[in-house]
Subunit: 221 residues, 2 copies
C-alpha cells in the first residue's frame, strides 16, 4: 500500500494531536483533554482538528486503543525476553512489566481501568487489544499445568470454559483460567488503588504490597 505525501502528513498531524492529548491527560485528567486547547498548542484553530478526529470521543477512543496496544506490547516483550526461564521467573517478569507500565503512566492506566467514559462503548478491536494482555498472562501461568486449587464456586467453571471458547484459544483448563483471572484481579487491586492515590495517606510502599501478592501468586496461594 502506497502512502502519499498527504497521507503521511495527515498521520503526523494525528500523532501530534494525540501526543499533546496525552500530555493534557497526564496533567489535567481526562476532563482536561480539550480539542480546542490541543489545536491551540498545535498552532491551528479548534475546528481544524475535526478534520482529523470525528469528535472528542473519537480522539479519546484512539488514546484508549493506543494504550491497550502499548500495554500488550510491554507485557509481550517481557514474556518474549524470559522465554527460556523457569515459570516462576516468567510470572514475576510479567507482573513487574505490568506494574512498571502502570505506575510510569498512571493516567493511561486510569484511562483503561478507571471510571468508564459515560456512554462509551468499546469498539471490537479495542476489546481484542485488551485480550492480548490477558492472553500473555494466561500463557505464562499455564506453563506448569493446571494448578491445585480450592473449591470453585459452582457455575464458574462452565462460564470460564465458554469464555475461553469465545476467545478462540481452544480448550484451556478452566482451573488455569480461574487462576489467571484471580491473579489478574489481585494485581489490579493493588495497582488500581496505588494509581488512584488511595494508599497516599496510608504511608506504606505499594510496591511491597504488590510484591507480597506476586509472591503468593508464584507460590500458588
Amino acid at each position: 500500500m502506497t502512502t502519499t505525501r498527504r497521507e503521511r502528513y495527515r498521520e503526523e498531524t494525528r500523532d501530534e494531536a494525540k501526543r499533546i492529548a496525552l500530555e493534557q491527560l497526564a496533567g489535567l485528567g481526562v476532563e482536561g483533554v480539550s480539542v480546542n486547547a490541543i489545536a491551540k498548542r498545535m498552532g491551528v484553530t479548534g475546528p481544524a482538528l475535526y478534520r482529523y478526529f470525528k469528535n472528542r470521543d473519537d480522539l479519546l477512543t484512539e488514546l484508549i486503543r493506543d494504550a491497550w496496544r502499548d500495554l500488550a506490547e510491554a507485557v509481550e516483550a517481557s514474556v518474549a525476553d524470559t522465554a527460556d526461564r523457569p515459570r516462576d521467573e516468567r510470572v514475576r517478569g510479567f507482573a513487574d512489566a505490568y506494574r512498571a507500565w502502570a505506575v510510569h503512566q498512571p493516567h493511561r492506566y486510569l484511562l483503561l481501568f478507571g471510571s468508564p467514559l459515560p456512554g462509551y462503548h468499546a469498539p471490537q478491536d479495542t476489546i481484542a487489544l485488551a485480550h492480548r494482555t490477558m492472553s500473555a498472562f494466561i500463557g505464562v501461568l499455564a506453563e506448569s499445568g493446571p494448578p491445585a486449587r480450592p473449591v470453585t464456586p459452582s457455575g464458574l467453571d462452565g462460564q470460564l470454559r465458554e469464555w475461553a471458547r469465545s476467545r478462540g484459544e481452544g480448550e484451556v483448563d478452566p482451573a488455569v483460567l480461574l487462576t489467571s483471572v484471580r491473579a489478574f484481579t489481585r494485581l489490579h487491586g493493588v495497582l488500581s488503588l496505588e494509581v488512584s492515590g488511595q494508599f497516599g495517606p496510608m504511608g506504606f510502599d505499594p510496591a511491597l504490597l504488590y510484591r507480597a501478592e506476586v509472591d503468593s501468586l508464584v507460590r500458588g496461594g
Copy 2:
C-alpha cells in the same frame, strides 16, 4: 443548637441539589454533573446554586464525603448485625455488604475508587470517613488472632506498624494489618473491574469470582 427555619430550608435545598446531582452522576458520569442542569431541574437559575455550594468541586466533594459515610455505615451495620456470630460468618457478612453497596450504586463506588478528580485533594474528614470502612474490616478479620502467613516483604512490617500508629488504634499486629490490606485489595480488584464494566465482554458472573476470593479469604489463603 437551635436550627432556624432558614437553616432548615437551606439544608433542604442543599439536599435536593445533591439528590439530583447523584441522579446525574448515575446517568451521565461525573462529567455529567452540571451545576446549571441541577439548578434548572430545581426550578431556579444556575447562579442561585452558588449560594449553597462554593463551586462545582465543592458539590462533588460533598458527594464524595456522603458516599464514604454511607459506605462506612453500610459495612458497620453488617458488623453490628453479626456481632455474636463466628468470625468466618462475620467476614462473609462484611464482604457481602461491601459488594452489595458497590454494585447497587456503581457510580458512587467509582466516585470513591475510580479516576481521581484532577487537582482534587481529599479533605481530612473525608480521609477519616474512608478509614472507618477499613477499621471495620480490620476489626472483623482480627478476631481470630494473628493469622499464619507467608513471608512479608522486608520493610512492610514496619510501615504497617507506623500506619496503625498514625490511625490511633494502638498496637495492632502487623500480620493482621497485612492480611486486612491484602484482603481489601483483592476484594477491590474484583469489584473495581466489575463496576467499571471490564468483565462485560468476558461473559462470566463477577459475583462468583468475588465469592471465590471471599472463600480463599476465610480459609486464610
